[in-house]
């Protein structure tokens, strides 16, 4: 999601599930929605059947989505940027981009400073010692008015448009074929269909999931796709977009509400030590406009931040104490998943709480995780089911007597025993009713959390201890303080006018003077004086485009398609009248809830209100590893980097202690590419407790290409052993035609596929796929590289 925010200003699926029916071309890449999001995928099938849309898949495997696609192209794991970069080149080379859109709604016209450059795999500003970039080398050039210099002709050699052309010019069909292992012909046939949408009367969508995020270049893969969709004029339009298909039922909502390192609810930022005052934090966090004609909506950051602190600390957050600025911890450095486990391994992390989460099976590098977990003093696991993570001390090969970690397991209640809302991948927050009470002996998460809070708070009152004003002063004015209701919390999230006590109806009402509260500004409007908007069940669809504004609540402001101002041209006329997102009628915008002022004239400001540029970023300094994307190999790769082997892998990834030694270094001991994936009968690990689903998909297996199986003497159905430098798995061989050998840089590469769903606690047991995966992550999100690593295989 980091890359979508870096490009458009918000990190979320741009469109929504039903909107996919409005498209002409669907590219599914880094996802397998027929398998993993079946009921959302039916809208892609509907587009294909009703509109004659083309459905394309690009994947290391012929998936269940490929089975119903018009065309499939197999590529090697980790070669996505090469393919997408090739598509960018193809669109520009053949003049297939949507020129009016690009000029009106992207930063193609912006002029970049003289310092910027790219050579031998590195962008300007690289600091080898620190392994990072000094991003000032990527700054725009400023004009005499202090704003960015723009060239509407797009001919300036340092205009973003020209730099883009130049950067991706290396990604010829032949280079794509060499890196990805497809043929140039296959690629060109794909490119022709995908780039056919660069016109006002056609629109295409991209569906992706963790097949893109789980790489050391994951963010930049998505960036490349976002650039392509901008060039084709497909962002902000019904039937368009770049659609991140998220995994768990409320992974979007839990991210919005910031159970996430580094952010606070609503994508506000966690303060850092150098920000010694609220003013310093707000100054660093509030972007300043780069052009005169930008809404720069993040300019309202102080209103969102102060309103959140008022929601959390009430009368204890005052102008005199910087609205309780020091009640929140200052984060120093990274605090994400891999770093957490690195701290455990170092021995500085004492306690670990996992709620509704099975960290051990989630990986990566399970042998390393087991070692790290064993160094914790204590661990608490809260879940309706017993989890492998709670019983890690009896995992295969572990000696319980040697592990001193104390573990508490708490049985908590299920989704069906609670009310509250889930936000789906398309940003629709839907209220769910409680159907039954939890069984006797089981407690709701809210109760467990509240009891923990109160008991810790009371321990501090009784015996003192470390500074705890924030705990003592945290707002907790719930009718039953030991178990707040979902409605109370939903209202707190929405926020109030503190003067009148009225629930706010829009984040436009928020103020930075302490007179308003809002637990999460992007949800303001979800629970208003008019009632619970997330519970609405109106099915009307006046636009015929499936927006359903009366069904549930879609953040922000019940908007169904993000960036919808870009669905219309500079004068506010929809690019395609039959699929209008919003349209200017001379007085106001009609259609979807506009991503723009309702009465703001079309020429008043740029279409992308969340960027300081006012337009979308083809060139973006918001990621750590480059303003454009570049193909780097996975840290374990079966091939040299065909573009620049001296900089083979992403130069700014973080190497945790001991990781280099845990990787195969291009030797012949680990000759095969491997990728892990999911199947429709299972969802991660929880389904190992559901008898019907276990019966449907009982056993761990290894998907092996026919030719490789023949070479290795492995018959279909026999037991096979697969090992990486980190661990090994064993299971039934499924010998398949779904994976072909690929010719990569002149060498044959085989790919092996492994499903992720097994552990040692479920109804059936099987190898943990993450015994194999490397402990390394993306340069921006630190999402681990689960999708591409090296293994060896033999008959067991």
């Amino acid at each position: 999601m980091a890359s979508l925010a870096a490009t458009f200003g918000r990190g979320a699926m741009t469109n929504h599930w039903k909107d996919i029916k409005n498209t002409d071309v669907i590219l599914v890449m880094g996802a397998n929605p027929a398998e993993n999001h079946p009921c959302g995928f039916k809208w892609a099938v509907e587009a294909r059947d009703d509109r004659g849309a083309k459905l394309l898949t690009i994947d290391p495997r012929f998936t269940r989505t490929s089975a119903v696609a018009d065309r499939h192209m197999q590529i090697r794991p980790g070669s996505d940027i090469a393919v997408l970069g090739g598509l960018i080149r193809y669109a520009l080379e053949n003049d297939l981009h949507h020129a009016d859109y690009v000029r009106a709604h992207t930063n193609a016209t912006f002029v970049v400073g003289e310092e910027y450059g790219f050579a031998d795999g590195l962008f300007a500003g690289f600091d080898e010692a620190a392994s990072n970039y000094d991003k000032t080398a990527w700054d725009y050039e400023r004009g005499p008015d202090g704003y960015v210099r723009r060239d509407p002709s797009l001919e300036h050699p340092r205009s973003v448009f020209q730099l883009l052309k130049q950067h991706y010019d290396r990604y010829t069909p032949e280079v794509v074929a060499d890196i990805a292992g497809c043929t140039a012909d296959e690629f060109l046939q794909m490119a022709e269909i995908i780039c056919s949408t660069g016109r006002a009367d056609r629109v295409g969508t991209i569906m992706y999931a963790v097949g893109w995020t789980m790489h050391t270049v994951g963010s930049q893969i998505i960036r490349t796709a976002a650039i392509l969709q901008l060039l084709l004029g497909n962002i902000g339009r019904p039937g368009g977009g770049i659609n991140a298909l998220r995994g768990h039922a409320n992974v979007q909502g839990a991210t919005d509400h910031a159970i996430v390192a580094g952010i606070l609810p609503g994508y506000l930022k966690v303060p850092t030590p150098p920000q010694t005052s609220l003013a310093a934090h707000l100054r660093d966090s509030t972007p300043r406009p780069l052009v005169a004609d930008t809404v720069n909506y993040w300019g309202n950051y102080p209103k969102f931040y102060v309103s959140q602190m008022k929601a959390w600390f009430g009368e204890h957050a005052t102008p005199e104490n910087d609205f309780a600025y020091h009640h929140l911890a200052k984060q120093d450095g990274d605090a994400t998943w891999l770093t957490i486990w690195d701290k455990a391994r170092e021995g500085t992390l004492e306690g670990f709480v996992a709620l509704g989460f099975n960290p051990l099976l989630a990986g990566p590098d399970v042998p390393r995780l087991l070692d790290s977990m064993s160094k914790l003093k204590w661990k608490v696991v809260i879940d309706p089911f017993m989890l492998d993570s709670a019983e890690f001390w009896k995992a295969p090969g572990m000696d319980p007597a040697a592990i001193d970690t104390e573990v508490l397991y708490l049985p908590s209640s299920h989704w069906i025993e609670r009310d509250g809302s889930f936000t789906n991948s398309g940003r629709w927050a839907q209220w769910k009713e409680k159907a039954v009470d939890p069984p006797i002996g089981v407690q709701p998460d809210t109760w467990i959390l509240s009891e923990l809070f109160w008991r810790v708070k009371e321990l501090y009152q009784a015996e003192g201890g470390a500074w705890n004003d924030a705990i003592q002063q945290l707002t907790w004015d719930y009718l039953n303080p030991r178990e707040p209701t979902m409605v109370e919390l939903a209202k707190e999230i929405n926020g109030y006018d503190r003067t009148t006590g009225r629930l706010l109806s829009s984040f436009g009402e928020l103020a930075d003077d302490g007179t308003t509260t809002s637990g999460n500004w992007i949800y303001t409007g979800s629970y208003t004086e008019a009632g619970n908007q997330m519970q609405r069940r109106g099915t009307a669809d006046p636009t015929g485009l499936g927006m359903h504004h009366d069904w549930a609540f879609s953040w922000p402001a019940n908007r169904r398609v993000l960036y919808n101002r870009a669905s219309a041209d500079a004068e506010g006329r929809p690019w395609d009248q039959s699929r209008a997102g919003i349209a200017w009628n001379g007085r106001e915008w009609i259609g979807d809830v506009p991503d723009y002022g309702r009465t703001t004239p079309p020429d008043a400001a740029g279409a992308f209100i969340m960027t300081e540029e006012g337009v979308a970023r083809l060139f973006s300094s918001h990621l750590a590893d480059g303003p454009f994307s570049e193909h780097y190999e996975p840290v374990e790769s079966p091939s040299p980097n065909a573009l620049h082997d001296n900089v083979a892998v992403n130069p700014v990834i973080r190497w945790y202690d001991g990781v280099r030694e845990s990787l195969a270094n291009g030797d012949d001991d680990y000759p095969y590419a491997c990728t892990i994936y999911r199947v429709v009968e299972r969802e991660h690990f929880v389904t190992s407790n559901v008898p019907l689903l276990v019966e449907a998909m009982p056993d761990f297996f290894v998907e092996l290409p026919e030719g490789l199986a023949a070479e290795k003497g492995i018959p279909n159905g026999s037991q096979v052993r697969v090992w990486s430098k980190r661990g090994e798995v064993q299971g039934t061989a499924i010998v398949t035609k779904r994976i072909k050998p690929l010719r990569v840089n002149g060498r044959v590469v085989w790919t092996v596929g492994i499903p992720v769903h097994w552990g040692f606690v479920g109804i059936t047991q099987g190898s943990m796929a993450n015994l194999l995966t490397p402990f390394i992550g993306d340069a921006n999100t630190r999402c681990p590289e689960f999708k591409s690593f090296l293994v060896n295989v033999e008959r067991a």
């Binding site: 150098p274 957490i340 992390l349 009470d437 959390l449 689903l693």
Partner: protein, 193 residues
């Protein structure tokens, strides 16, 4: 008369609709079939717990709601009114009642002591006291009011909280609010993995 698919089925099963509404008499057919098991159930509109498509579902619940009784889920199916799934469900969604009433659900807090080979049962009060004590002790041991440069950081580096992408927005918000107030920075969930 507006008859949706579901009201039609319920009406037909209950025999409440006669010749005038449907144009034919259902009573002979009714005599030959069993009553639908959802006939006396209460409907609750909920959302599928698996992936992020967000399929609308209807849970059918039996029980009187009496003080000494417990209601039970007897059936879950797709909500035909939902614009997202229009009543359809995938294999996981269609079997979600088995998740709701799985025999593997646990009802007892358990504690594993250092070096122990197995769990011991503990009551909730003991469990929560243990949790709070560990939490406070590790917070106290790791808490830093100021960093080496003398700047206020008010941070507890000794505890991590992870999860969850499976709880409601409201619980997710309360987790963030509480753990940030405790001074934790090691906070993450499944989004990254």
């Amino acid at each position: 008369m507006d008859i949706s698919r579901r009201t039609f089925i319920k009406a037909a099963a209950g025999g409440a609709v006669g010749v005038s509404a449907l144009g034919f008499d259902l009573r002979p057919a009714q005599a030959a079939v069993r009553q639908l098991k959802i006939r006396n159930a209460t409907e609750y509109r909920t959302v599928c717990p698996y992936c992020a498509v967000g399929c609308g579902t209807i849970a059918y619940v039996h029980g009187s709601g009496g003080l000494n009784t417990r209601n039970t889920v007897i059936h879950v199916e797709g909500d035909p009114d939902s614009p997202i799934n229009g009543g359809t469900l995938c294999p996981k969604g269609a079997s979600q009642m088995e998740l709701a009433i799985s025999p593997r659900l646990r009802h007892q807090p358990l504690l594993r002591r250092a070096g122990a080979a197995d769990w011991e049962e503990v009551d909730w009060d003991t469990a929560m006291d243990w949790f709070a004590r560990k939490f406070k002790d590790s917070r106290d041991a790791s808490f830093r009011e100021r960093d080496d440069a003398g700047r206020v950081v008010n941070r507890a580096d000794g505890i991590a909280w992870v999860g969850s992408a499976t709880v409601s927005n409201e619980d997710a918000y309360l987790i963030t609010k509480t753990m940030r107030a405790m001074g934790l920075v090691y906070i993450d969930h499944q989004a990254r993995i």
